[in-house]
C-alpha cells in the first residue's frame, strides 16, 4: 500500500490525464458491451424488432391538434353521442332519460309495470290490441286515487301524449274496423 501511494504521488499531470482518459474509455466500452448484450438477448428472445413500424401505420395514430377536435380527431359533441340502448326494449334513449326509462321499462316502479306492459302490447301487437290498449290508457289516466302525486302524473302523461302524434291513418282504420265489427255482432 505504501509503495503504491509513493508511486502514485510521483505521477506527473500528463500521466494522470492519460490515466483518466483510459478509465473513461474503459467505462464507455463497458457501456457498449452492456448494450450489445442487451441487444443480443433481445434479438435471440425475439423482441428486438417488435417496436418496428412503418411510417404509414404510425401516421394513423398521430395525435390530432386542431381546434374543435379531440386527440383522436373526432368531433367533440357534448350531447350527440350520449345515448344508451335499453336492454329490455332495445331502443336508444338519451343518457339523462335512461334511468327513469329503465325504471318504467323493467317494471320496478309504482306505476311502471302496467305502463311497461302497455308498451310491450302496443309495440308487438300493433294490429289487434290497439283499441283495447287505448282504452287501458284512458283508464290509467283516470286511475289516480292510489298515487300520491296525482296532478304531477297527470301533467306528465299529457306531455308524453303531446310528443306522440295522437292519430294517424292506421288508427282511424282500426277504429272503423272495430266499430264495424261491433255493429255486426
Amino acid at each position: 500500500m505504501k509503495m503504491e501511494e509513493v508511486s502514485m504521488s510521483s505521477l506527473d499531470n500528463s500521466k494522470l490525464e492519460a490515466l483518466a482518459q483510459d478509465i473513461l474509455s474503459d467505462l464507455v466500452e463497458d457501456a457498449c458491451l452492456g448494450l450489445c448484450f442487451e441487444v443480443h438477448r433481445a434479438v435471440k428472445q425475439g423482441y428486438f424488432f417488435l417496436d418496428d413500424t412503418d411510417q404509414e401505420s404510425m401516421r394513423d395514430f398521430e395525435i390530432v391538434d386542431q381546434p374543435g377536435l379531440d386527440v383522436f380527431g373526432q368531433v367533440y359533441n357534448q350531447w350527440k353521442n350520449k345515448e344508451c340502448v335499453c336492454p329490455n326494449c332495445s331502443r336508444s334513449i338519451a343518457a339523462s332519460r335512461f334511468a327513469p326509462h329503465l325504471e318504467k321499462c323493467l317494471g320496478m316502479g309504482r306505476n311502471s309495470s302496467r305502463i311497461a306492459n302497455r308498451r310491450i302490447v302496443t309495440g308487438n301487437n300493433n294490429t289487434n290490441n290497439k283499441s283495447e290498449s287505448d282504452q287501458e290508457d284512458n283508464d290509467d289516466v283516470n286511475d289516480n286515487d292510489w298515487s300520491y302525486g296525482a296532478e304531477k302524473k297527470a301533467k306528465k302523461r299529457k306531455s308524453e301524449k303531446v310528443t306522440i302524434p295522437p292519430f294517424n291513418v292506421q288508427h282511424v282504420y282500426y277504429l272503423v274496423v272495430f266499430v264495424h265489427s261491433n255493429k255486426s255482432m
Binding site: E4, E5, S7, M8, S9, L11, K15, L16, E17, L19, A20, Q21, D22, I23, L24, S25, L27, V28, E29, D30, A31, C32, L33, G34, L35, C36, F37, V39, H40, V43, F48, F49, D52
Partner: protein, 96 residues
Amino acid sequence: MNKDSQMRAAINQKLIEMGERERLKELLRTKLVECGWKDQMKAHCKDVIREKGLEHVTVEDLVTEVTPKGRALVPDSVKKELLQRIRAFLAQHATL
C-alpha cells in the same frame, strides 16, 4: 513500464473498492440514455443485424461492429463531466 501498469492496476482496484466505478458507470449510462446515444446505437445495431441476418448474429459481431461507433458518438459534454469526476477521484486518491 512495469511500474506504470502496476500503478494503473492499483488505481483500478481502488476505483472498484470505493464503489466509484459503479457510480461512474451508472452516471454514464443515464447520461447516454438522456442524450439519445442509446437510441442511435440501437438503430445502428438494427442495421448490423439486418445485414448479418437475424439468426447468425453473435455478441462478438455486435461488439466489433458497434463499439467504434459507440465511442465516437459519446457527446463531448458527457465526456467532460465524466473526466471531471475521474480527475477529482485521482486527485483525492493518487496524492495521499
